[in-house]
Subunit: 313 residues, 2 copies
Amino acid sequence: MTVVVVGSIAFDAVTTPFGERGRMLGGSAVHFSLSASFFSDVRVVGPVGDDFGEDEYAVLHDRGVITDDIERIESGKTFFWRGHYDYDLNTARTDETQLNVFGEFEPKLSEDSKRADTLFLANIQPDLQLEVRNQCKAARLAGLDSMNLWIDTARDSLVRAIGAVDLVLMNDAELRMLTDEPNLARAAAAVRALGPRIVVAKQGEYGAALFSEEGFFALPGYPLEDVLDPTGAGDSFAGGFLGYLDAHREDGLSEPVLQRAMTYGSVMASFNVEEFGTERVRRLTIDEINERFAEFKHMTHFEAIPIEVRAAR
Amino acid sequence: MTVVVVGSIAFDAVTTPFGERGRMLGGSAVHFSLSASFFSDVRVVGPVGDDFGEDEYAVLHDRGVITDDIERIESGKTFFWRGHYDYDLNTARTDETQLNVFGEFEPKLSEDSKRADTLFLANIQPDLQLEVRNQCKAARLAGLDSMNLWIDTARDSLVRAIGAVDLVLMNDAELRMLTDEPNLARAAAAVRALGPRIVVAKQGEYGAALFSEEGFFALPGYPLEDVLDPTGAGDSFAGGFLGYLDAHREDGLSEPVLQRAMTYGSVMASFNVEEFGTERVRRLTIDEINERFAEFKHMTHFEAIPIEVRAAR
């Protein structure tokens, strides 16, 4: 089983109330890959410049991520994002974006990537997402993420891309914005009407909710007292979610598999934000993942004892 | 077992994008009472004017709520609130408040109410909350709600009132505001440091989260496609939560009991918002409550299958 992810590979400069990093490995495809690598084989597709060196490759290789489809542009520079978060950590504020090699990116998947079982189109321009989807016809499960920028500037393209995938993972605010529906259940239904079988609403500190034909499933966020850097949380969630689904394709997209995938996604997002960039996930272990999975179970499960009609009524 | 609630008994005029009511029974103590009445005996304390008639008493009596401690002021008028909600239904906008008899309210609990096992201090001025708490010394479990108004104008009083109760149920934004802590886990810990053993953060459509010495427990909101009127949802939650706890005092505040109480609170809030004011809860049945409880279980529970270290790593 293999997951292919297409998205940004970046250097990030991030300032939060709890610290800063001037230049660290980041990007949606990187966060996704590292997270998914705990569950399945991962191939990452995206462009980098000649400033992307051995150290950066090593982070991916240490987790077994296959980097054959990283396109290295000599005399180009890697995508760069600089941003900060205010004290509530809810919203990333972009201070600077240098598209660099990403500005000319034309995804070309290798034959191995085209044969992948599972595809994740991280948040990139939706025409590119559709182009990759069409190259990766073998994928039996394709998902995408997007953002307000594309809803504003490329809505028709985004709707087409959504129509070509099986699942959509987006922030709940962006699901509402895309569908012009303030009610999330209605927004999710409207997105599912465009084609995807499954919609996952990422809700930041409130967790995540899954809408599918079979019903609704939701998990709270993990109650961390120390969130150092939320960058990459959504892509870490997607990596855990799709990585788990890819590894359990033989079970189909059954409810129990989807529920566990949601939980592993939540687990991975919770680790991601504990430190800056990829720092925490790099040294994460399977035992830690399973331990937090059990914590999620403990903090959401309860035993039912039906109440009875009261005698006096 | 008896729950006493002190709070507003009101006429509400509410406009939402889905309809309006010019004058309907409302108020925090009313929503709480009706909800709690499915679980335990309820006594309601608060003032009304001579415009509060048989029809209004009948709504409470139909659910077995004991109204002996409603103080009816002849030639006074009942508290009146007029407000509206915008399309996202997240925030109540107050258009008019007439305190009327509530402006001079000096709570005087009957001997029966003073002997109650459980006390809920709905959102009223915190000095009044403390005064009632001191009258109701027998209560082995006391909880309170509050709001941004009192945090702004009576913070010291509110801190004293919080120090005299066992549990605090507040909106998460108000917990953050009270403690000046944007991180909810830290905000809850700071409130618990003031005295209460348990803090419940109400999170609107995102559900509710419980913080206690034993740990964290959270539930998502019920994914309704049609929310007609959110007024009273928080008090309905509190009614289900404290009503269930009151009815199960013999089990102590054990984790399983608290978890079920959270679920019944969520169930009651979800029904409350389906229609205007008290309309839905008035004709609610135990079977409907138990059925939705089971739905909550279905939409939050999952089976754990630990992942294993992958061979290639």
